[in-house]
């Protein structure tokens, strides 16, 4: 039986994180708001209105492209993509066609422990979003349809990859890496639930070793990374089974149905629109002035891959911790601020606190790192208290809970609650005396050489001290007392 290989190219739309729409002054915060509450004569295409390009959108698009190692074209052209649909007010979408603003990028992806691969990006272009049709309202199916133009004119970038992805896992890794970079540069929030990041997949199969492409199907309606992965796996099965049965794949657009876990044909190539692209005469060519590009490039933040490498090399974190901490921009910023507030060498303690306490709480409450109830510097100080011996790890855990509840500075809480670890020999010796008296059997075992018995005695000291005794000091003093 022939072995088949997947060939995948992805087209990703990301909503640029601008305050206003691409060609008018309407706000972009209309998701979930009253329909048609973010509209004006321009984005509803009243006769006589004209588009004016949002420069913030251009800056964000350029930054995304630079972070993705694209070449910025000195001149790019906005083109009209003409088709009729009720959610498209002008009956054309302003997009870019044969002269996009950027081309020839690269993105590094990693699948588990496999070596990293560099995936080519064909192009990135700027375009406006369409509105949204509503087929039901207040739970009722409508006789006709309603249209909401809050989304019409929202700025998007479309990022087109080369057909260089070879597995569903690679597609998943590509999307993860892409989202990470775009979020890091602040070009998009990439909130998929709000439709801020959308993906179409071009999928074909070919016999392993072949250098020719098979006929591709374009898969739409992929609204999560998992959907992308599942749909690709489904398409692989569908197309290989078709070929094995002597059939052939036809070029068509297919829709993913997450419920049935299958793709269904939507329209064939023959039914494809003729979009009659032509340069939009209402807009002038977009020029990328070298000084502007240089300024935007120098304003780019450190990207995730570079950050991970630095966390490992300069801060001594494990590769795993570095990965966790850079998975989200807000989290990486929280970590860095906390690490700066911690004493030198305590970055690893900060990372541990984040991994063991902080993420658990965030996830439990469905919050992002930016919405933590205390400032990052407080976590750094907590790590300092642990590193300096003021707090045991148990004490740190308790204090963390109090910080989460009160938002207070850990140093203030330590004195307020008397949580400081007690390392004073005289005090700890008194607890040891009581513990030995209360646990004669364990004391005798230890004296008889049974080292494991010390655990119970340290535990007793901790209990007597309400967790405040320094365990190392207790350990030392127990041994001294038994040997005396």
């Amino acid at each position: 039986m022939t072995r088949y290989e997947l060939v995948i190219g992805l087209e990703v739309h990301a909503q640029l994180a601008t305050r206003t729409k691409l060609f008018c002054g309407c706000a972009t915060d209309g998701f979930g708001e009253t329909p048609n509450s973010r509209i004006c004569p321009v984005c509803t295409a009243q006769p006589g209105t004209l588009p004016v390009l949002n420069e913030q959108a251009v800056a964000l698009a350029y930054q995304a492209a630079l972070a993705l190692e694209c070449r910025l074209n000195p001149v790019s052209i906005f083109a009209r993509k003409n088709y009729f649909y009720p959610d498209l007010p002008k009956a054309y979408q302003i997009s870019q066609y044969d002269k996009p603003f950027s081309e020839h990028g690269r993105l590094e992806i990693r699948v588990k422990d496999l070596p990293a691969r560099s995936i080519g990006l064909t192009r990135i272009h700027l375009e406006e979003d369409a509105g949204k049709l509503l087929h039901e309202a207040a739970g009722l199916t409508l006789d006709g349809s309603l249209v909401d133009f809050n989304r019409a004119g929202i700025p998007l970038i479309e990022i087109v990859s080369e057909p260089e992805l070879r597995s569903a896992d690679e597609a998943y890794a590509y999307l993860t890496a892409l989202k990470e970079v775009i979020q890091f540069v602040g070009a998009s929030r990439c909130d998929m639930e709000k439709g801020e990041m959308r993906c179409d997949a071009n999928v074909s199969v070919r016999p392993e070793g072949s250098d020719k492409f098979g006929t591709r199907a374009e898969i739409k309606n992929l609204n999560s990374f998992k959907n992308v992965k599942d749909a690709i796996e489904h398409e692989f099965r569908r197309q290989t089974e078709l070929l094995e049965a002597g059939g052939r794949v036809i070029q068509e657009t297919r829709l993913w149905n997450a419920e049935t876990q299958a793709t269904v044909a939507m329209r064939s190539k023959e039914d494809a629109h003729d979009y009659r692209y032509f340069p939009d005469p209402d807009l002038v060519p977009l020029t990328a002035a070298p000084e502007r590009v240089a300024a935007l490039k120098s304003a780019l933040p450190e990207l995730p891959a570079a950050k991970r490498a630095r966390f490992v090399a300069a801060l001594g974190l494990s590769a795993y911790d570095a990965e966790v901490l850079t998975g989200d921009k807000a989290l990486s910023e929280f970590f860095e601020t906390a690490a700066t507030a911690a004493p030198a060498g305590a970055a690893k303690t900060v990372a541990n606190l984040i991994a063991t306490e902080f993420l658990g709480k965030l996830n439990a409450e469905g919050r992002g790192a930016g919405a933590a109830p205390f400032p990052a510097a407080h976590l750094g100080r907590l790590a300092g208290l642990v590193a300096g011996g003021t707090l045991s790890s148990k004490g740190a855990k308790d204090l963390f809970s109090r910080m989460w509840e009160t938002g207070k500075d850990p140093r203030a809480l330590v004195s307020e609650l008397g949580l400081a670890q007690v390392s004073d020999d005289a005090q700890v010796r008194e607890w040891v005396r009581q513990a030995l008296a209360a646990n004669p059997k364990a004391a005798a075992d230890l004296k008889g050489g049974k080292q494991a018995a010390i655990g119970a005695l340290v535990g007793a000291v901790m209990k007597l001290s309400q967790g405040k005794a320094n365990p190392a000091v207790a350990n030392k003093l127990i041994k001294e007392a038994v040997q005396a």
């Binding site: 004569p41 509803t44 295409a45 009243q46 006769p47 006589g48 209105t49 004209l50 588009p51 004016v52 390009l53 009209r80 003409n82 009729f84 009720p86 007010p89 002008k90 009956a91 054309y92 249209v147 003729d274 009659r276 692209y277 032509f278 005469p281 209402d282 807009l283 002038v284």
Partner: protein, 487 residues
């Protein structure tokens, strides 16, 4: 003083209102009265909201009484072509598809008129969506030529030209995509200015062909046209194609006494067989006037002129096919309620909403932009356009202005060309090149035909050379005054 306010210039009226010799209300009322008396035969206006115009005039008078300094067009009534948005007024583009559509905002030019204390008077008739050369393509009414009711006023801005010629308004706004200001100006014996592309904002002008459309004034004097341009011109951040470098448009100046040193070119491609002999004679007569003022006249060549009409009828319909796609029955305007499916909404609405000339051009443009035909049509037409612009650049290296007839024929009669679209398209053969190149041009009345109908001469200047163009036009006007239509 009981002057006939309808025979004065806009400049003189504004002056009288500012000085308190009269009120804006009185001036506007005089024009409304005259318009109402003449409208049954001229039919220049699609809407003439008398009370709202008077209210606007009274607001100007109130500002004056409150001591506010009044603007350059204080109390001057201005007729506005019905493809330009005036907030609260119906804007139909003379199309059934926009019947009843009330503008939600003011066009930039209307804002500027208001800021100069002008009074928008009413909305004038046009060929549907500005597509035509006789105003016969209006879905609603036929405007007659005030000089002869059997003749068309020209088009597409026929209503604006007729309103100014018939002294219903001293000023009017039109739009010019291939001659739609200059050709009706010539037919109606008034001044019609097509400014340089980008000098006047297109925001609020319902687009026909975006890369060619330009708003400009009609007036009975060159000075008034210059005054209007100084009010409506200049950069507008809402129009991305609006020229940034454009200084505020020229202020009216006294006409130069002579044109010594001015070099005027006569393009040999415009003085050709087929040109009506009376039109040619009038144009050559106008050139003699320029010579008499001291201008040097020489023959020049604009070699790509012969491709102008063909290339224009690719570019303009292509853009129109896209610009007019928004009239889909979904958000505004006419919708055929019998439609059962989405497909039918589009088909019925556009089928019944658009007239035959609009449909013809939408189909032409859709075809020209189609995949597989784009390079042969649209891309090639744009290359021709580049060559035409180069023709002008080269010509303007040797001359300051170009002079030629505005139209190949005198005003024609109703129905004369309606069955022959190509003959109608050729009415714009001398005006289209200026749109294709994006430069500045003006039509000036220069004589009457043997039948007593107005004839026009066109002066063309390089882009943003309006001061030079209008100075020469003013000198010409002073040397060859044209009769104002009596009655």
């Amino acid at each position: 003083m009981s002057a006939d306010w309808t025979s004065l210039s806009a400049a003189r009226l504004a002056d009288a209102v500012r000085k308190g010799e009269t009120t804006a209300e009185e001036v506007v009322r005089a024009h409304l009265d005259r318009a109402q008396a003449l409208e049954p035969s001229v039919k220049a206006f699609l809407s003439l909201p008398r009370e709202r115009a008077l209210e606007r005039a009274r607001a100007v008078d109130a500002r004056r009484r409150a001591g506010a300094p009044l603007g350059a067009l204080a109390g001057v009534p201005v007729a506005v072509k019905d493809n330009i948005m005036v907030r609260g007024e119906e804007t139909t583009c003379a199309s059934r598809i926009l019947k009843g559509h009330v503008a939600a905002y003011d066009a930039t030019v209307v804002e500027r008129l208001n800021a100069a204390d002008a009074v928008p008077l009413g909305k004038t008739n046009l060929d549907e969506f500005a597509m035509g050369s006789s105003t016969e393509n209006s879905a609603f009414q036929k405007t007659t030529n005030p000089w002869d009711p059997a003749c068309v006023p020209g088009g597409s801005s026929g209503g604006s030209a007729a309103a100014v010629a018939a002294r219903m308004a001293p000023l009017a706004l039109g739009s010019d995509t291939g001659g739609s200001i200059r050709q009706p100006a010539a037919f109606c014996g008034v001044v019609g200015l097509k400014p340089t592309y980008g000098l006047v904002s297109r925001y609020g002008l319902v687009a026909f062909a975006s890369s060619l459309d330009q708003i400009g004034p009609f007036a009975r004097t060159v000075g008034d046209a210059a005054l209007a341009l100084s009010v409506i011109g200049g950069h507008d951040p809402r129009d991305s194609t609006s020229a940034r470098a454009a200084a505020p448009a020229p202020a009216p100046a006294p006409a130069p006494k002579d044109l010594k040193g001015l070099r005027v070119g006569l393009p040999r491609e415009y003085f050709i067989a087929g040109l009506d002999p009376e039109v040619e004679k009038a144009a050559r007569g106008a050139v003699e006037v320029l010579k008499g003022l001291g201008a040097e006249v020489r023959e020049i060549s604009l070699p790509h002129t012969k491709y102008a009409v063909s290339a224009y009828y690719i570019v303009a319909p292509s853009e129109a096919s896209s610009n007019l796609a928004r009239f889909d029955g979904i958000r505004y305007g006419f919708v055929d309620r019998s439609a059962k499916t989405l497909e039918e909404v589009y088909e019925f609405t556009r089928g019944a909403g658009f007239g035959p000339e609009v449909k013809r051009r939408v189909m032409l443009g859709t075809y020209a932009l189609s995949s597989g035909y784009y390079d042969a049509y649209y891309a090639k037409a744009q290359r021709v356009r580049t060559l035409m612009a180069r023709d002008f650049k080269e010509a303007f290296a040797g001359v300051d202005l170009i002079a030629c007839p505005t139209t190949p024929t005198p005003p024609f009669r109703f129905g004369e060309k309606t069955d022959d679209p190509i003959a109608m398209y050729l009415s714009d053969v001398f005006t289209i090149p200026s749109n294709m190149a994006g430069n500045a041009s003006v039509s000036l009345p220069c004589g009457l035909s043997s039948k007593g109908l107005p004839l026009g001469v066109q002066l063309i200047a390089d882009a943003f050379q309006e001061p030079r163009l209008l100075a020469a036009a003013a000198a010409f006007e002073a040397a060859r005054p044209f009769p104002v239509l009596k009655g």
